[in-house]
């Protein structure tokens, strides 16, 4: 479960999140929709612990624990996963080597025994097959020279292996053609479970045809402006965000 309470975040002198409050229950898929420049990516980075953001007020609770003072790797080990909008290319680090390092770092952090290579290989192969990630991709340096679709599939592959309790998908649909969108969405859907929550950040309704949300939240001007069910996404697709922007400006 993810609880965001009255979150205020600034970068330099500019306040970007202005008292954002949102709860995603166990098993829930919550979608955040909103126009560009409204702080959606800031929200995902702040939850994951990126440097450069000042949290001036508020809390983020992961399964009841405030994680704002934890380092990014500690948040990950406690079950948080951020699927990046722009997965970073890391030349020189083989994908398989990276997967082994991250899986075992998280296990060590939780006091669990490390996975041995054969066990790890089997898990990776099984998960990769489901997502159409080729063995050749696993041998390449992480995300290096991957197409947009390959990068997003790699994000979902990592999520499947790391088994987080909260997954944040930041604009996972950006840069995907319709076939890749389907594969990635199916990958996410198979990970849905009563013990896992998702926060799906997008500005198009299209992704939500594939990943059906339980709740939809409209974010604008650094706050949640309105919450509702899946029908809210359809309404936004029809009317756009102008009501929310106009409201703020008024």
């Amino acid at each position: 479960m993810l609880e965001i309470k009255n979150l205020h975040v600034s970068v330099g002198d500019r306040e970007i999140l202005k008292g954002l409050t949102l709860t995603v229950k166990d098993g829930e898929v919550a979608a955040i929709m909103g126009p560009n420049g409204t702080g959606k990516s800031t929200l995902s980075y702040v939850i994951a612990g990126r440097e450069g953001y000042d949290v001036t007020q508020g809390e983020v609770l992961l399964n009841g624990e405030n994680i704002l003072d934890l380092d990014p790797h500690e948040r990950a080990a406690r079950g948080l996963f951020l699927a990046f909008q722009y997965p970073v290319e890391i030349p020189g680090v083989a994908t398989m080597q990276f997967l082994k390092a991250t899986l075992n770092a998280q296990r060590r952090s939780r006091g669990e025994p490390e996975l041995q290579t054969p066990d790890l290989m089997k898990r990776v192969r099984d998960a990769a097959a489901k997502l159409g990630v080729s063995q050749e991709m696993l041998r390449r340096p992480l995300n290096s020279g991957f197409s947009g679709g390959e990068k997003k599939r790699m994000e979902v592959l990592q999520m499947a292996l790391l088994e987080p309790s909260v997954g944040i998908l930041d604009e996972t649909d950006s840069g995907l053609d319709i076939d890749a969108l389907r594969v990635v969405s199916e990958g996410v859907n198979t990970l849905r479970s009563p013990h896992r929550s998702f926060l799906v950040i997008t500005h198009y309704q299209r992704l939500l045809d594939y990943i059906r949300p339980d709740t939809v939240h409209v974010m604008a001007q650094g706050r949640i402006q309105r919450s509702g069910g899946p029908e809210l996404a359809l309404e936004l697709e029809k009317n756009g965000y102008r009501d929310y922007i106009a409201e703020e400006a008024a």
């Binding site: 994951a48 380092d71 990014p72 952090s109």
Partner: protein, 435 residues
């Protein structure tokens, strides 16, 4: 006119007197005069602008005379080993009986006494006008002269180990030569360090090593050279030089790992003297604390169709100072030269300094040459990505730094040797992350 204006020069003058009659008296005298006319290089000498050897050697240590007693030396490579400690060949630590067929080894003293024209030309090359090398020529105590017969193919690498024992400050001057006959192939591992490195005595003793390896590759010869400089204490001063001559179609594939310690200068002078000669120089330098690590390289293309590739990576932490000076010269005769030089540095702290100076001097008109030099910090996006996946900062940094450094080691053809170098880089990074 010999200038004895300071204490260091006076010490070297006295040391030269003791070495004058240790073989090749005329060559030594010429070398000493060349040195004394200039003195130790300081910042006013352009090629030493970033490394002030004169300031570092105000008190030259006495020439090494104490040769430590029998000492076990861990074997790190499957190689035929030749060990010098404090400027003296140590048969007890060397594999003199198992030299590969076609490989002959003489001590420098023997070689000087019976030197033929090839040995003489190799030991006294014409393409390294440098005061530190001149000083080495005047004071060289010993060395190994290795000859590989034409066409020989040495199945195991030859490991040349030069150690300074760390009991008290002492200066070691060694000069070795490698003469590789036409079409022969040999792998050489050069290891320079301190006996009992890591002990308090070794780090305080302040070893002063001036080593020169001269190399001559006849037509179609091939040498894989791996150089590791490691373990020097914080008060040590080391200059480790390589001077190479390549004849037609000869190939030199060189990799070096320089692990900082005190003031350290690696200098390479390579002359491509035959058509289609090919030289690759790759290196990783790791330095921390107040270490000073300089790599200076001059590649001189003298004949057409030569190729040279240089790829260097430097990682600096603490207050360390790194230097990379790389100069590619393309003479007017050297048409169709292909030369690419790249030096990249990552600075891990605000106190570290990198001096990156690539240079091209091109006198031919039909060549393909380029260079690139960068200095930066670790990429924050990459670091955050790895941490968001569960890697603690130190581990994430080490993973990225290893990837950065290993790029320069990718061309080591022998997998076991490549693994060895990568493991040493990994150990340095782990030591840093744990510190």
């Amino acid at each position: 006119m010999i200038n004895l204006s300071n204490e260091a020069d006076a010490v070297y003058a006295a040391q030269f007197e003791t070495m004058r009659d240790s073989g090749a008296a005329q060559r030594r005298t010429d070398a000493y005069r060349a040195f004394a006319a200039r003195g130790l290089p300081n910042r006013r000498v352009e090629s030493w602008h970033y490394t002030d050897l004169k300031a570092a050697l105000t008190k030259p240590a006495p020439l090494a005379t104490t040769h430590s007693v029998t000492h076990a030396l861990a074997r790190t490579h499957d190689a035929v080993r030749l060990v010098m400690v404090d400027g003296k060949l140590r048969p007890d630590l060397s594999d003199l009986d198992t030299l590969p067929a076609g490989v002959r080894m003489q001590c420098l003293q023997e070689a000087l006494a019976s030197a033929g024209p090839t040995v003489t030309a190799t030991l006294w090359p014409d393409n390294a006008d440098d005061a530190a090398i001149a000083l080495n020529g005047a004071l060289m105590q010993n060395g190994l002269v290795v000859t590989v017969a034409p066409g020989a193919e040495a199945p195991r690498p030859l490991e040349l180990i030069t150690l300074v024992s760390g009991n008290e400050p002492q200066a070691v001057f060694t000069r070795s030569a490698l003469i590789v006959g036409a079409g022969a192939h040999i792998r050489i591992i050069e290891t320079h360090g301190v006996l009992d490195a890591g002990t308090e005595a070794a780090s305080l003793a302040g070893a002063q090593l001036n080593h020169v390896l001269t190399m001559r590759l006849d037509a179609d010869a091939k040498v894989d050279l791996l150089t590791n400089v490691a373990g020097f204490g914080e008060t040590s001063v080391s200059v480790v030089s390589l001077i190479a001559h390549l004849d037609a179609r000869a190939r030199l594939n060189a990799h070096q790992l320089i692990e900082g310690g005190g003031l350290l200068r690696r200098q390479i002078f390579a002359a491509l003297d035959g058509e289609h000669a090919h030289a690759a120089f790759n290196g990783v330098t790791l330095a921390r604390a107040r270490q000073h690590a300089d790599t200076t390289l001059v590649v001189d293309h003298r004949q057409p169709h030569g190729e040279s590739h240089e790829r260097f990576r430097t990682i600096l932490d603490g207050q360390a100072v790194g230097v990379f000076q790389g100069k590619i010269i393309v003479r007017s005769a050297a048409q169709k030269t292909d030369g690419v030089m790249q030096s990249k540095a990552i600075l891990l702290s605000d106190g570290a300094t990198m001096n990156n100076k690539p240079e091209l001097e091109i006198f031919a008109d039909d060549v393909k040459c380029g260079h690139g030099a960068t200095c930066g910090r670790l990429d924050r996006d990459q670091l955050f990505y790895l941490m968001a996946r569960g890697l603690p900062r130190g581990e994430a940094e080490s993973l990225l730094l290893a990837a950065f450094a290993n790029e320069a080691m990718a061309g080591i053809e022998d997998e076991a040797l490549r693994d060895f170098f990568e493991a040493r880089i990994g150990a340095w990074l782990t030591g840093r992350a744990g510190a």
